[in-house]
């Protein structure tokens, strides 16, 4: 007798982006074996990983989780969250854990919570480095001990194994730190004997929930079914349809190669994948394969503090000034440098011109060929302290405001400021400093699990 399909409800593209209650209820009507959500992304940049702060809003995350956990606990369905707090470091995990504990307490829910840590101790990475088990992901630079020391936080992307271990440990709700995006969806299907290739490919689609439908949405649910040699995806809102093109197109999203998708423990091979329109709303997919690699590796992500930022926002509508802009910027930079040449710390000062290469920068094909009648100007200073960044930004701003460029007619001031105050302290600035692979013998050992009966 053929087994029933394994059913997965994916609630939203990123935990905290929200979903319509009607879609969630449609999903629950289909009796899911698993309710899961991916909470992570490196898209918002290095700041959130480095600073240990979530890029999603606390109340929004709590709202989404409250629906998921109440329904899951009531009907004894596992609830799995991947990459807590967006970046999946220890502070992100603690932040999300506190939200879950609040939900349990406020709703008087009793369940076993598993929390899986993905932030690695620096000594572990250093030992890996010494043993030759760390390799850069092109074009990241080689890792050094110094760089590890300078890095604020390093996380590793877990695969399916830690999730399965937590599930076997009796967890009703699994909160994971940094995880390979599909793993929170695929792991329990694999634990129940379903195919790894199909489960991983379905996980890749479900991690963005309704983004793979037409019209796409980052804040709606999606439902997945895995059978013996296929999987199916179904939108849960009557507004949306999954089409072969919308689902196949999502497979391309944010990936360099649509056919070979590397992950922990191996890669997903989609060269033989077929997409079939089963009903006007549902797409059936076959032929996706998982190919295990000889060595087990996990991807490391780390960010380090570069300094502190202050920005000033202004504009100009003066065509003479716009023509002379390169000279003006050069002149302002020289004045600032001259003013602070005795300062111990270096600084970074830049001028972004919206209306001239502001969006594409070095990639702009119309570089230095402006047609705008006005420029938006963002003056940015980054320095070792917030005070120095404030000083550099303020000096650059006041110098530019009164800079006497050649041919100037408007002597009262060169800049239109939309705000008072004109300068904004943007705080800590981080950059990605680790983007490497770490070889591990045991795919669970580096991801310790803590259980708590709430």
């Amino acid at each position: 007798m053929q087994r029933e399909e394994y059913r997965i409800l994916s609630t939203t593209a990123i935990l905290g982006y929200g979903f319509p209650v009607s879609s969630f209820e449609e999903g629950m009507k289909r009796n899911p074996h698993l309710i899961a959500v991916d909470a992570g992304s490196t898209d918002p940049g290095p700041y959130y990983l480095g600073a240990g702060i979530s890029f999603t809003d606390r109340s929004a995350v709590k709202r989404d989780l409250e629906y998921m956990i109440k329904a899951g606990v009531e009907r004894n369905i596992p609830v799995v969250i991947g990459t807590a707090g967006g970046s999946g470091g220890k502070p992100h995990l603690d932040w999300n854990r506190e939200i879950i504990e609040e939900i349990a307490q406020e709703n008087n829910l009793k369940f076993r919570l598993a929390v899986i840590n993905a932030e690695l101790p620096k000594d572990m990475i250093k030992s890996g480095l010494k043993a030759g088990k760390v390799t850069p992901l092109d074009p990241a630079p080689e890792l050094t001990e110094e760089l590890i020391d300078e890095t604020t936080r390093i996380v590793a992307q877990m695969g399916i194994e830690p999730f399965i271990k937590a599930y076997n440990g009796g967890a009703q709700v699994i909160l994971a730190g940094r995880a390979y995006d599909p793993a929170c969806f695929s792991s329990l299907a694999v634990a129940n004997g379903y195919d790894m290739g199909l489960a991983t490919h379905l996980g890749k689609i479900l991690e963005c929930a309704a983004i793979c439908a037409n019209p796409g949405s980052g804040s709606d649910c999606m439902f997945g079914y895995i059978g013996e040699d296929y999987f199916r995806v179904e939108p849960l809102s009557p507004l949306r349809k999954c089409t072969t093109v919308s689902v196949a197109a999502h497979t391309l999203y944010e990936k360099s190669d649509p056919c070979i998708l590397p992950g922990p423990g191996g890669h997903l091979d989609l060269t033989g994948t077929e997409f079939e329109q089963e009903t006007p709303e549902i797409v059936r997919v076959r032929g996706s394969k998982f190919v295990p690699s000889a060595k087990n590796t996990v991807k490391l992500e780390g960010a380090r503090l570069v300094g502190y930022r202050t920005v000033s926002i202004a504009g100009t509508r003066d065509p003479i000034m716009m023509q002379k802009m390169d000279d003006i910027i050069k002149g302002v930079k020289e004045r600032v440098e001259d003013n602070f040449n005795h300062s111990d710390s270096g600084y970074y000062l830049s001028f972004v011109l919206y209306g001239r290469d502001g969006v594409m920068g070095a990639l702009e094909p119309l570089r230095n060929a402006p047609k705008s009648h006005e420029y938006g100007i963002v003056i940015e200073a980054v320095a070792a302290t917030q005070e120095l960044a404030n000083t550099i930004c303020a000096t650059a701003r006041s110098t530019m405001l009164h800079y006497g460029y050649e041919g100037r007619r408007a002597t009262a001031g060169n800049l239109a400021f939309p705000y008072s105050p004109s300068d904004f302290k943007a705080g800590e600035v981080y950059e990605f400093s680790v983007y490497h692979l770490l070889e591990t013998d045991d795919p669970t050992a580096i991801f310790p699990i803590e259980y708590k009966d709430l």
């Binding site: 490196t42 898209d43 918002p44 940049g45 290095p46 700041y47 992901l137 092109d138 074009p139 990241a140 072969t244 093109v245 196949a248 197109a249 497979t251 391309l252 999203y253 944010e254 990936k255 360099s256 190669d257 649509p258 056919c259 994948t273 077929e274 997409f275 570069v306 970074y348 830049s350 972004v352 502001g358 969006v359 594409m360 920068g361 070095a362 990639l363 702009e364 094909p365 570089r367 980054v382 600035v429 981080y430 950059e431 990605f432 983007y435």
Partner: protein
């Protein structure tokens, strides 16, 4: 007569693929148009280099994905996402040079 890419492609977009790469997707409406553009090799290294002011060593790959009627080109970002000098952290507004493309069909 030349055909504008915006008349035959329903999706033309850019996005980060990890913090070091930028990937460009063109999804065609019709199988026939996809095949023509693909077989003619219009979307090639030379074109991407010209459109994005980059040298060939910055091109990671240019591949077709028939199930989505799509052609995808990936280049190395000038900076790791969010580094000093960044203009587009998500890489989501780097598609515009593709919008003006025209082809002899």
């Amino acid at each position: 007569m030349k055909t504008r890419l915006t008349d035959i492609a329903s999706v033309i977009r850019s996005k980060n693929s990890g913090p070091y790469e930028l990937t460009l997707d063109i999804l065609f409406n019709e199988q026939a148009d996809f095949e023509k553009i693909r077989q003619a090799g219009y979307i090639n290294e030379e074109l991407i280099c010209k459109l994005y002011s980059v040298t060939p060593d910055k091109i990671v790959s240019i591949v077709a994905f028939p199930p989505a009627k799509a052609i995808k080109a990936t280049i190395k970002r000038p900076l790791c996402s969010g580094g000093l000098g960044e203009t587009d952290v998500y890489g989501a507004q780097q598609h515009a040079p593709l919008l003006d493309l025209e082809f002899e069909m």
